[in-house]
Symmetry: D3
Subunit: 322 residues, 6 copies
C-alpha cells in the first residue's frame, strides 16, 4: 500500500482513482422518488463521503458496508465539507486488493506498544485494591479494550481508539502529577484506565460500530461500575469500602456534569482532574481532524460536539520551533 | 401516651408542657459571641424547632440528640414558621417517660401490614427474572427497607418511610395499570419496589439520619444497580440480558432527568410512569405537611423542594364528600 | 367495516389495498422543481403518511383533505417512521364507501358513556359555587366539549379526544383522592373538567383542526378564565371571591410552569395534582401510540413532545398478568 | 414643611432630628433572644431604614406602621446601604405634626394633571371598540388607578405611582409613534393605559401595600383580562372579535416572556413595543433612585430587580447641557 | 426608475417582468444530482428569492452576484415565504439598465441629511474628552460609517444602514433625556454614535457583505474599543481616566448580556438605556419588514432574530389618527 | 521565622500564641447593636478568620489591615470552616516582629526563578510579531506582573500569584505541545503569557487587593487587548493583521464562554487549549487549598468557585509512589 496515494491526500477538484473500503452504505430516497446510496469511503488516512445517485436494486445489493471497491471520481467541497463526486464505482476483481483490514483507520500506535504502556502504568498503581481491580477488569475486557474505538463518531472513532485515548490521558496525567505532587497518582491512573472501559459493553465492536441495548438502557459509566462491583466478589473486596468507593467515584463522575450523564459530580481532586484531562484529549483530537479538513485562511464547518463552534485555520503555516 | 396532647396539636401562643424527644441539637455561636443550642423537638405527631439561648457547657453536655426531655414553653410563629419559645427545659427523672422509641414519628401503617402488602405485590411480578431479583434483594435489605426513612428531610423522613413511600407508589401503580392495560404491570411493580432500595446503603439508618460515604460518592441509584448486578451471580443471570437490562433501566432512570442524578432518561413507558408516580407521591406527602403547618387563609413559607413555591391553605374547610 | 383490514394492521412490506380518508393533503415542490402531494391517510385505526410524486394540476385538484380515496401501495419504513409507498391512487366511484365519518379516528368510548361519566362526576362536586360554574360552562360549550380533539397533534388528537382526556384525568383523580383523603375532591374534579375547556375556543373544530386567532393571541388557558368570569354575572357570583379564585387558579396553573404558558404556578395542593395527572395521562397516551408504531426490539424515532427522547419496545411480549 | 430638612438630604454621619412617618415596623428577635423593631422611616423625599434595639412590650405597642414620630439619630451606611442609627425615638405630642399624609412619598405630578393627560390620550384612541373599553374600565377603577402605587417595591412604589408610570409610558409611546409612523398608535395607547390596571385588584391599596388573594392566585395580567371580558357584555362586544383580541393580547403579552408571567409572548409589533417601553420606564425610575442613594465615585449595592447588577455613580458631575 | 413597478409591489400570483439586481447567487446540487442556482433578487423596494433549476455551466458563469438581469416569472408564496417562480432569465443587452447602484436598497434618508444630523448631535456632546474622541473616530471611519449596512441580515441590512440605525437611536435618545433629565445626555449621545462603529471593521463593506477575519476573531465591540484606546495617544488622553472609561463602558456593554457578546454588563444608567434603545430600534425596523411581507389576517413566518416568534398582521387596517 | 509554628499548623482546639498579620479588618454591627471586627489573620502558611467581639472605638482604630499583631486564642471549626476564637489581641511592642512582608503569603517560587522561566519561554516564541508584542507588554507591566496576585480571592490570591499561575500554565503547555505536535507552540506560549496580564490594571496591587474602576467598567480581558493595540503603534504593526488578530483572539477568548466574560468563544485550537489549561491550573490550586483545610474522612464546605461542590478528603493517606 506504501506508494498509493491516500484518500486524505487528494486536493479539491483533483481526480480520484483508488481502492477504498465502504465504511457505511445507507440507501435513501431522493426527493424525486428515486433511490441513492449515501456512502462513506475509508482508508488508513481517514474517511470521506459521497452519493451514488439513481441506484439500481443490483447496486444496492452490491455496495454494502465492509467491502473494498474501486472508486473513480473527484474530490469536491459541499458547503465547505469535503466529499467525493462519484464518476464510476465497481466491485474488485480477482487479484485486486480486497482485504478490509488494510483500509481501516487505526490508532497511530501499535497494539504491542499500547499494551506495554498500559502494563507499565499498572505497576505505578501502588495501592493494592486499585491495582487488583484494574488488573482483573483489564484481563476480562482486554481484547475489546485494545481494538474498540473510543466513540461511534467525533473523536478516536477508529480501531484501537479506546486504548489510544486512554493512553493519551495517562500521558497527560503523568505530566500533571509531576507538576502537582499533592495529587494521588495511583488513584488518577487507576481511574483513567477504567473510565471508559464500559464502552466495550456499550458499543458493538470495532467495525460498523453501533450502540448495544445495554449501552442505550444503562450506559458505559454505570455498566463498568456494575462490572467493578461484580469483580469485588472473587477478589473478596467490599464494594462499599472507602478505597473501592474512591475508584467507583472516579469512574462515575468523569463526565463532570449530571447533564452529561455522570450520576455524581466530581468530589475528589483526582476525579476533577480526570474529567478535565478527558475533555482536553478528546477536544484536541477532534480539532486536529477538523482543522486538517479545513483550507488555510478558512473557518471550518460548525463542530457539533464543540457547541457548534467553527474553527479557523490560519493562512500562514505555524512557525518553526526554536 | 393516649391522653397526652401532641406537639402538633398546640395552637399559636398556647403554653406547651410536655415530654418530647430531642431529634437534633446543634451548638452554635450567637452574634453576641455566646453559645446557644438549636434544638428540634419531636413526638409522634411531628417535629418543631426551638432555640435554647445562653447555653452553659453543662447544658451543651446534657441536651444532645436522642434523649427525652421535659419542655415548658410557648408555641410561636417565627416568620410564619412554627417554633417553640423555650421557658424551661430539663432532663427526665426516674419514673418519667424516657423511651425515645415512644416519641419517634412513624409510618401511618404497621410494619406487618407493610410487609403483607409488599409480599402480595411480589406475587404479581409474574416474570421470573424480575421476581427472583426482587425477592433476592428484598431478602438482603429487608430490615433496613422496613425501618429506614425515604429521605433525610422533605418527604417520608420518618421511621418506615422508605417502605411506606414504596407502597404508596405501588397503590398508584395498581390504579394506573388498570386504567392503561397496555402497560407492563410486573415491570412497573418490580421497578417500584427496587427504585429507592439503594437508600438503605445511602443513608445511615432510621435515627439521626445522615448520608454515608457510599451515598455521597456513588448515590442510591447506582448503589442498588451494583447490588442488582452482584445478585445476578448466584441467580445465574446475565446482567446484560434484555430482561435484566429493563429492570436496571427502571431503577437508573427513575429521577427522570440527568440533572436530577439519573444517568439515563426514561426510555420505557413504564420507566416514565414510575418517575411520574414517584414525584406524585412525594409531592403530595410534602404538601400535606406544608399545608397542615399553615394557618387557614394564609400562604405557607417557601417550599424549597417544590422550586421555592408558597402554597395557600383556603380559609374555608373543604366541602363534605357527597 | 368489521372485516376490512385496518391501516394500522399492515406489516412492513405488506401490500395495501383499501379505502381510506385523506386527513391532509399539502402540495409541495420537490428539489427537482416538480410538485408532489404530501398526504396523510386515516381510518379508525390511526393514520400514516405517503408522498404522491409528480402530481399533475388535476391530481392537485382531486386529492384534497376530507375525501375518501382508494389506495394501493406498500407499507414501508422511512427512517424507522412508517409510511405508504403509493402505487396507485384514485377517487371513489358510485357505490363505493365515501362517508368520511366512517374513517375518522374517534375516542375509544361512546359519546353517551362520556356524557354519563361527566354528569356523574358533576354530582360529586358538592361545593355549590364550583358546581354551578361547571354546569353553566359545560352547558355553553357542550357540543364542542364532546367532539373536539384535545390537541392538534401529539396526544388525543382525535374526535372526542378532549372529553376522553378529561375523563381519563378524572379517573386518575378518583384513585388519588381515595388514596390521599386530605385532598379537596370537589375542587380537583371541578378543575379537571374545566382545565382544557378553553380548547373549544382555541381550536377550530374536530376536523382539519387549526388554531383560531383567539387561540393564538390569548390561548385556551386565559380564554376559559374569561368565560368563567363572564359566567359569574348571571350566577351572581363575585369573580374575586375566594371559592371562585380557587377554581380560576386550578385552570390558570394547570400547565405547571410559566414557561409552558401558565400565568401562575400551582399554589394549591389540588392544582399541583391536577397538573401532574394531566401530564401523566397525556404522556401515557402519547407513548402508547409511539410504542405501537415501533417494532419489537427497536427504539422509536425521537418523540418531540417528550424532549426528543426515543423509547424502546422490548423484544419479548409483556408477561401474562397473574 | 418647606424649610424642614428632608430625610434624603442628610449626609453620612450627619445628625438627624426630624418628624417622620413610620412606613413599616416589624418586630423581630435578635440572636441574643431580645426583640427589636425593624423600622422604615419615610417622608416626601424618600425612605430609609433603622433598627430599634431592645424593644420593650410598650415600644412594640407604640411604634407601629402609619404614625408620625420624632426621630433623633445619625445617618450611616451599613454595607453601602444607607440607614439611621437611632439615638432617640418618641411619639408626637399635641401641637406637633401628626398627619401621615404630609409624609407620604407621592408621584411628582398632581392628580389633576395626571387625569388631564390620560383624558387627552383617550381622545387619541380613534378606534371605537378600544376607546369604549378603555373608558369603561377606567371609569370602574378610576379612584384606585390614580392613587395606587405601581408595585409593592422596586419602582413607582409611591402613591399615584400606577398612573404616573402609565403616563411615562404614554409619553415615550408618543415619541415612538411619531418616529415610526407604521405603528398603530391607538392600539399602543389603549394597551398602555390598560396594561397594569389589574394592579388595582392585585394590590391592597396605596398604603402598607400587600398582595391580595386575587393577586396571588390569578395575577394582575389575567385579572384585568377577566374584567375586560366582563366589560364586553354591557358594551355588546364579542370578546373573541379581532379588535377585542388585539387589545387583550396587548395586555396579556406585556411582560414579554412566559417566564415573567405573560401567558403569551408579544405577537404584534405594538405589543412588543409596549413591553419594551414598560421595561425602559421601570428601569430608569429604579436606577434614578439607586444612583441617588449612591455616593459619587462608588458602586451601588446589588439591584435585585436588575439581575443583581451594581451601578456606578461617576465621581464627576454630569456636564452642563449645551 | 420612477414609473417602474418595484419588486415589493407585486401581489401573489402576479406576473413579474422587470430589471433587477442579483444580490446573491449560490450554486447548489439538487437531490437529483443536478445543479441549480439559489438567487436573491433586489431592487430599491427590497429583496426576494428564487430558484433557477437545471443550471448549465454557462448559466452558472453568467448569473453571478452584483449584475443586473432581466427577470420574467411569477410572485409566489413558498410556505408563507414570498419567492419568485422563474420563467425566464437573461442578461441585459446594450441600452438596457445595467447600473447595480440603481437597484440597491438604501437608507430612507440622504447621506447629506445623515451627516447633518450627526454633526448637529456632536455639538451637544459638551464634555470635551467625549467630544474629541467621537470627532476623532468619526473622522477616521467617516466613509464607511455613512455607507455600510448595520448588519449582514436582519435589520438595517442596506447601504447607509449603520448611520441610519445610529441616527434612529439618537432620535429616541433625545426624547428620553428630555423625559428623564437626570440622565447624562452627552454620555448617552457619545455612546450611541460610537456603539456600532466597529462594524466598519467587522464587516467587509456595503455590498455582498461578509464578516472579516477581525470581525470573526475579535468582534465589532472590542475592535472599536481598541481603536478608541489607540485614538487616546494623539489626543494625549489616558485610556484609564474615568471619563474615557465611562465611554468605553458605554460601547462594551451595549449588547446588554454577556451571552450576547458584551464583555461587561451595563453598570451605568446611560449604558443600560443605550442597550434598550438599540434593541427598540432594531426590533421595530425588523418587524416593520416582517409585517410588510405578511398578508393581512395572517401570521408571519418565524422570525429567528426575535426568538422564533411569529407576528400577526391584523386584517383591519390601522385606524386614522385623530 | 524558621522555628515558629505557622498558622496552618495548629490542630483543632489547639491553643494559638503567635505574631500574625491582619490581612483585613471589617467593622460590623452585631445583632445586639454592638460593634465587632471581622478579622483575617495571615502568615506565610495561609490565612484564617476570627471575630473580635464588643470592639471599643479604640480597638477599631488600632486593629486595621496591614499591621502585625500578637494573637492568643484557640483554633476552632465553625460549621466545618476553620477559625480562631480570640482570647487576647494586642499591638506589637518595640523589639517584637512588625514587618508585614514577613507574614505575607507568597508564590512558592522566587521572583528570580519566575523571571528566568518567563524569559526562557519568550525565546521559544519564534514568530516575530508575537515575540515583539510579548516583550513590549511584559516590559511595560513587568513590576506588577511579578508581584500581583492572580485574583482577589479563590486561587493564586498571594503575592506573585499572577506570574506563578502564568508559569504553571506554561509548564502544562510545554507538556501538551510535546504530546500534540500539530499545535502552534509559539502562539500558545504567547497567549499564555499575556492572557491575564490585564489583571495588573484590573486589580489595585499586591496588598489589600480590590478592583479598580477600569477593572469594573472594562475588565482585564479587554484592558490588555487595548494595551496590545496601543503597543502596535511604536512597533509599526497593524492591529488587524492576521498574526496580531490570532494573538488578540487568544487573550479575548480565554474565559471560554461568553457567560464568563469572553467577548468571543475560542475559534483556534490553541485558544481552546489555553482556556482548558487555565481552568486546570486554577482548579487544582484551589482544590489543594480546600483539601488541605479539610479533615481526613470529611467533606469540605461548599466551594463557590467550583459550582458549590463539596470535596472529600480520604481518610487514608495517599499511597507511596512506586
Amino acid at each position: 500500500m506504501a506508494a498509493t496515494k491516500q484518500l486524505m491526500d487528494y486536493a479539491v477538484d483533483e481526480a480520484v482513482d483508488a481502492f477504498v473500503l465502504l465504511k457505511s452504505a445507507d440507501v435513501r430516497t431522493a426527493k424525486n422518488g428515486k433511490q441513492y446510496i449515501a456512502l462513506v469511503f475509508e482508508d488508513r488516512s481517514g474517511e470521506i463521503s459521497g452519493k451514488y445517485w439513481d441506484a439500481s436494486p443490483e447496486d444496492i445489493e452490491n455496495y454494502v458496508a465492509g467491502i473494498v471497491v474501486h472508486l473513480q471520481g473527484k474530490r469536491e467541497n459541499y458547503q465547505t465539507h469535503p466529499q467525493i463526486k462519484i464518476f464510476h464505482l465497481r466491485l474488485t476483481t480477482v487479484g485486486e486488493p480486497d482485504d478490509p483490514n488494510q483500509y481501516i483507520e487505526k490508532a497511530p500506535m501499535s497494539r504491542a506498544d499500547m499494551e506495554d504502556y498500559i502494563n507499565q502504568t499498572v505497576f505505578e498503581i501502588t495501592q493494592p485494591t486499585w491495582n487488583r481491580l484494574v488488573r482483573k477488569l483489564l484481563a476480562e475486557y482486554q481484547e475489546a479494550f485494545f481494538t474498540f474505538p473510543a466513540a461511534k463518531t467525533n473523536h478516536h472513532a477508529f480501531q484501537g481508539g479506546l486504548a489510544f485515548h486512554t493512553i493519551s490521558i495517562l500521558k497527560l496525567a503523568h505530566s500533571v502529577v509531576k507538576q502537582y505532587p499533592d495529587l494521588n497518582a495511583p488513584l488518577l491512573f487507576a481511574g483513567a484506565i477504567l473510565h471508559d472501559l464500559g464502552k466495550t459493553i456499550e458499543l458493538s465492536g470495532p467495525k460498523s460500530t453501533t450502540y448495544t441495548l445495554a449501552g442505550n438502557l444503562v450506559g458505559h459509566i454505570v455498566l463498568i461500575d456494575g462490572e467493578l462491583v461484580r469483580a469485588c466478589e472473587p477478589l473478596k473486596l467490599d464494594p462499599q469500602a472507602e478505597d473501592v468507593l474512591l475508584l467507583r467515584h472516579m469512574i462515575l463522575s468523569h463526565h463532570g456534569l449530571l447533564e452529561y450523564g455522570s450520576p455524581v459530580r466530581p468530589a475528589l481532586r483526582e476525579a476533577d482532574v480526570l474529567h478535565q484531562l478527558d475533555e482536553l484529549d478528546a477536544s484536541i483530537m477532534m480539532l486536529d481532524t477538523v482543522v486538517e479538513h479545513t483550507a488555510p485562511g478558512e473557518f471550518s464547518e460548525r463542530v457539533f460536539a464543540m457547541d457548534g463552534r467553527r474553527f479557523y485555520r490560519p493562512s500562514e503555516p505555524k512557525p518553526k520551533e526554536s
